[in-house]
């Protein structure tokens, strides 16, 4: 393991490659910001300097921390995180620019910049402090407790802050935070640690029924517990997306740990059954499903909590077509919540199908790096941790972008690294920091891969 302890020591080529890509990202970000300003207000405003420089400085600090503390880390992850984060800021800032003078909230972009700086610096701090991810093995059950506490916080009186029917955020003074975003990291650590210690038992070969090996009934315990917890999230917090995210995450890690397809099948059946019952019993789930199946019908379009927003986003995406209207050239502000849940639709309108493909490819590369790191690690905990961190990004993208593109019913998750919102940024940048740490501590540096 090459340990670089000073800026002036010879560092692996990886960091220089990263720097090169970051510089490209800085330039691209400057170009994007100028483009949206010229296209929407026809002038370059001075505040763009601060919008550009703060994330650039933060990313540079992160890069230096990597040189000092993780010089062997993967060179692609930080630039991708920066590209996604700044494209998000660009789009949010662009939406601010066209808001009318009467709009109460015209500084979403500025807040996003501040949160970006906080998130990147926190991630750098995590990287600085956590010299090895294996430390987390000592805190498996603390992680679970932390995750549960974070999940329950929004349900508490006083600090709980329900928005549009979902209990997702807490409010402390002026700052609103979604602790569920951080909870997912705690749960990944817990799942990875728990499954590492229990994988032998869970993988025990049981009876064979219709060609499928069924494990002993008592080994189904954990999956039932997690299933109930997910349903609890669905019922108590009224949040289908988060519920699906945790359950999907657990199923995949369970599968990777045990190699038992059976768990995946049972889990899927349980989730679908739970969701079906929920859609019957809870009107908001039912509305989402019927809006998903037939968004253009007049009834769904006019219904409160119906498909209006989804349809406006579909119009925007169609308007963008293959190549888009160009940054700042479209009308994404027609879509409600364009800066958060529907940021992908704003990107699709202005950068076109080509832009969406590029964006999805960036996410895919990010996830692929995580799986690569998982493969390269020898120990189970590291593997599961890396798979968990990678898969949570993939699944979250799928749930939220798939919701906008009508692959699945629309739920309220944030687009990782792009959507407006501080907690999501902090959580995803910490995931990036952990992936970087994992990639720096590979058993044989420089020989990543199969």
């Amino acid at each position: 393991m090459a340990k670089a302890v000073g800026l002036f020591r010879v560092v692996p080529k990886k960091r220089n490659l990263e720097l090169l890509m970051l510089l490209f990202g800085f330039g691209l970000y400057a170009f994007e910001l100028s483009q949206v300003q010229l296209a929407t207000i026809q002038i370059l405003r001075e505040d763009a300097w601060f919008i550009w420089s703060l994330p650039v400085v933060a990313a540079s600090v992160f890069h230096i921390v990597l040189r000092l503390r993780a010089s062997d880390a993967d060179p692609i992850i930080l630039p991708i995180g920066f590209l996604l984060n700044t494209l998000g800021i660009t789009m949010i800032y662009r939406l601010d620019l066209v808001k009318s003078a009467t709009d109460a909230d015209r500084a979403v972009g500025e807040r996003q910049v501040v949160w970006t700086v906080i998130a990147i610096l926190l991630a750098a701090l995590v990287l600085w402090l956590v010299r090895s991810h294996l430390t987390f093995r000592k805190y498996i059950y603390s992680s679970m407790a932390l995750g549960v506490i974070l999940l329950v916080l929004p349900l508490l009186p006083v600090i709980g802050n329900p928005t549009s029917g979902a209990y997702l955020s807490v409010r402390l003074g002026p700052v609103s935070f979604q602790p569920g975003e951080l909870a997912k990291i705690a749960f990944i650590i817990f799942f990875a640690g728990y499954l590492t210690s229990r994988r032998e038992a869970l993988a025990v070969v049981g009876r064979k029924v219709f060609g499928i090996r069924i494990p002993p009934a008592r080994e189904l315990g954990p999956i039932v517990v997690i299933w109930l917890a997910s349903l609890g999230v669905l019922v108590l917090q009224r949040d289908l997306g988060t519920s699906l995210l945790y359950f999907g995450l657990f199923l995949v890690l369970l599968y990777v740990a045990t190699g038992r397809t059976f768990y995946v099948l049972v889990g899927l059946v349980m989730f679908v059954a739970g969701a079906l019952i929920a859609s019957r019993l809870m009107s908001y789930v039912g509305n989402r499903v019927s809006a998903w199946l037939d968004p253009l019908s007049e009834a769904n379009y006019e219904a409160i909590g119906g498909s209006y927003q989804l349809v406006q986003s579909m119009f925007g995406l169609a308007h963008g077509g293959l190549f888009g209207t160009g940054l700042g050239g479209g009308l994404p502000s027609i879509v409600p919540l364009a800066e958060s849940d529907f940021i992908i639709s704003a990107i699709g309108e202005e950068l076109g199908l080509v832009g969406i493909f590029a964006l999805l490819s960036l996410y895919m590369v990010l996830v692929a790096r995580a799986l690569r790191i998982a493969n390269a690690h020898a120990d189970d905990f590291s593997k599961l941790l890396a798979v968990g961190l990678g898969f949570v990004i993939a699944l979250q993208c799928f749930i939220v972008i798939g919701g906008v593109l009508r692959v699945v019913p629309l739920t309220g998750l944030t687009t990782p690294l792009m959507a407006a919102g501080g907690s999501s940024l902090v959580a995803n940048w910490i995931i990036i920091a952990l992936l970087l740490r994992l990639s720096d501590t590979l058993p044989k540096p420089g020989t990543v891969g199969e």
Partner: protein, 483 residues
């Protein structure tokens, strides 16, 4: 664990593949259907992307698009309510009316005449700019007409008789088109509702349509023309002159407006009857001529025809299937005769122009943003409405009506004015509709005008065409003559 991670990788690949496919379906395959959905506002917003051309009067914009920093890029701005009947409005939420609607493709810059402009915009990367329109309206005449109407509801139309150029077109009440072009949804829709429910109906263009009016005595010009065109009458032809006339087949008696005889003799000439605007002789003349002759003459003046000036005018109406009593009533512009002020101005203009009726128009030039001329309004002859001699005879009678008859308030010192007033009844107790139509100078007409005032000008049944409408016409004619 390696094979499991590989399978997870494949699963993730499938998830992303479904996103790629769904995005392709939405943005390319189904895009046309979504783009054409009636609930899709983006087509409307796209209209705001190009800078819409201006509508100009005397080279000054009365409607123009100015840059804004909001999503629509351009805000439509209007100067003055006096032009609201001409421009109409251009609203994001309530559509468009008036010239904004009639000339939309030119103003937007996508009519075929602007093809090279569009090509140039495409190649140079400059935004397409709509064509601008210069009107035939004269700002002074328009302003005088608007001011002269004061607080009264009504309309003024002024035409240059030899060409058909419209010099003024005023409808009152007007409205502030800026209140509808605003990009604030709530304001625009509440303003629109207010205008819709306003008892003065400001959104109706009284000059060319909407409210059609009973013409009253100004219709006598059409009846006199029918009489002379028949060849059986001259201005000196005598008509019976009782003080009261029972309409045939009825017990309804009609009287002259002074309720006395027309002049005092046993008979009265057509010339005198028109000069003093007597109903009794004209009712009898109308019955003698018959409804077909009057209808034919009305048609020759343009009744029954909707014009595009390019605002679309409502066709004026001479009723059909009349009995003699009804025909008698129509002869002095009552019963179901309904006209637009534009139509009455055209009648005067045709008389002024020796019997030839020119097509009224208000677009002088349409030109691109780099001042290339796209279209030009040219005088077009609609038809010969009456012979030159008929025109001359009616003109002389109209001169007399102003100089020594009941249309005296249109007199302009030193200028020979031809004119005819009208005071039309609506219901037994309803206020009158007051009229004046005429032209000046009589020997070389520069302007033909029609003025209508609704609701008796606020004076119930005591207002008269001569007391309220004629002075307005006088001011409008003076505005042209003093140029």
């Amino acid at each position: 664990m390696t094979p499991e991670i590989k399978r997870v990788a494949n699963f993730i690949l499938l998830m992303f593949l479904s996103l790629f496919l769904a995005a392709s379906a939405m943005q390319v395959i189904n895009a046309d259907g979504l783009n054409n959905d009636s609930r899709n506002q983006r087509a409307v917003y796209d209209g705001y992307k190009t800078q819409r051309g201006a509508i100009l009067v005397n080279n000054k914009p009365i409607a123009e698009s100015v840059k804004t920093s909001d999503a629509y890029r351009f805000l439509r701005k209007y100067t003055g309510e006096q032009y609201s009947a001409i421009t109409g409005f251009y609203s994001l939420f309530q559509g468009r009316t008036g010239l904004e609607n009639a000339l939309d493709s030119s103003l937007r810059g996508d009519n075929s005449a602007a093809f090279f402009e569009q090509l140039n915009a495409l190649l140079s990367g400059n935004p397409v700019t709509g064509a601008s329109v210069e009107l035939t309206i004269d700002e002074d005449v328009q302003q005088v007409a608007w001011d002269a109407l004061g607080d009264m509801k009504g309309a003024v139309v002024a035409i240059e008789p030899a060409t058909g150029r419209i010099l003024a077109l005023v409808s009152k009440s007007g409205f502030d088109a800026n209140s509808l072009s605003t990009h604030n949804t709530a304001d625009a829709s509440s303003n629109y509702k207010k205008l819709l429910t306003d008892e003065n109906s400001p959104l109706i263009n009284r000059a060319i349509g909407g409210n059609l009016y009973a013409p009253g005595s100004v219709f006598k010009l059409v009846v006199a023309a029918a009489a002379f065109e028949s060849g059986s009458y001259t201005p000196q032809s005598k008509l019976p002159n009782p003080s009261k006339y029972i309409l045939p087949g009825t017990t309804t008696a009609i009287t002259n407006s002074g309720e006395g005889k027309c002049g005092g003799a046993k008979t009265v000439s057509i010339a005198t009857a028109l000069k003093l605007s007597c109903n009794v002789p004209f009712a009898q003349l109308g019955i003698e001529l018959g409804q077909d002759a009057i209808a034919k003459q009305a048609k020759a003046f343009g009744f029954g025809e909707s014009l595009s000036i390019p605002l679309k005018s409502t066709a004026s109406v001479y009723p059909e299937n009349l009995d003699d009593a009804q025909t008698g009533l129509t002869a002095f512009g009552q019963f179901d005769v309904r006209v637009t002020p534009l139509q009455m101005a055209m009648v005067s203009a045709a008389i002024a122009n020796g019997g030839v009726e020119m097509k009224p128009y208000m677009v002088d030039q349409i030109f691109t943003s780099n001042l290339t001329l796209l279209e030009e309004g040219n005088p077009t002859e609609l038809r010969r409405s009456i012979t030159t001699s008929t025109a001359e005879r009616i003109k002389q009678m109209m001169i007399a009506a102003v100089s020594s008859g009941v249309s005296s308030n249109a007199k302009i010192p030193g200028v020979s004015v031809a004119g005819k007033t009208g005071t039309a009844e609506n219901g037994v107790k309803d206020p009158y509709t007051l009229w004046f139509t005429g032209f000046a100078p009589a020997d070389n007409p520069e302007i033909a005008v029609a003025v209508v005032i609704e609701d008796g000008g606020g004076k119930g049944q005591s207002g008269r065409g001569n007391t309220l409408a004629a002075p307005i016409a006088k001011k409008v004619m003076e505005a042209v003559l003093n140029k």
